[in-house]
Symmetry: C2
């Protein structure tokens, strides 16, 4: 019963992906495919990538996160990585990985705020409830 | 880098848990502990359990879902299971498992609506945006 694809949860104009499992090549490619399809299909304006379950973010994962953010950007969606553990941040810097092009927030709620503050919810000018629909 | 605990994501007064990995005894107990702690600490009124990644829900998983719903209930939080695959529903019925005490919704958004409709957001009488804070 090992996971063959990572679920993408739609909440209003935001897509939430909680990465919990060891990312191998195939799974990373599948996630990129699924997520870009989903952004295009739903017109989502924001992507939240929760990595709170990850104890290690190596160069492979870092590149995957950057790729996803880049793909989302050309599809007009902003990406925020949330839930990074302090130990992961330390390791990233020690490895010289700077996660170019990736914005981060402490948790999902702050990530939602960050997406909202960037004017992603332009439906009614009320930026505080991107996810509340 | 296998998961040792399943992340619990707080969104307003709702806690979201996306179950993606093979649940063994230890992980199920850990999730029950973490989730009850989190409900008590945050005063959350709703729990969304996303099982869209699960291809199989056997009696062990079914019991775990029922246990979580029961524990949440005595802590004054409602539980909704979301994202069940059609094949899982078929298997559950064939196995004679009825998931007692568990409410379900097709996806996270419908689950949020279901929690909201049950009057969980009693702060301002506006039940439509439980998660939007």
């Amino acid at each position: 019963m090992s996971v063959e694809r990572i679920p993408i949860l739609k909440m209003g104009s935001t897509l939430l992906v909680s990465i919990q499992v060891d990312m191998h090549d195939q799974l990373a490619l599948q996630l990129q495919d699924d997520l870009t399809d989903r952004i295009a299909a739903t017109g989502a304006r924001g992507v939240l990538l929760d990595i709170s379950a990850l104890e290690i973010v190596d160069s492979f994962i870092g590149r995957m996160l950057s790729n996803i953010a880049g793909m989302a950007r050309v599809l007009d969606a902003d990406t925020v990585v949330v839930g990074m553990r302090p130990a992961v941040a330390i390791t990233l810097v020690e490895l010289g990985l700077s996660l170019p092009g990736i914005r981060t927030a402490v948790n999902v709620e702050k990530g939602i705020d960050l997406l909202a503050a960037r004017g992603l919810d332009d439906r009614d000018g009320n930026n505080r409830d991107v996810v509340g629909r």
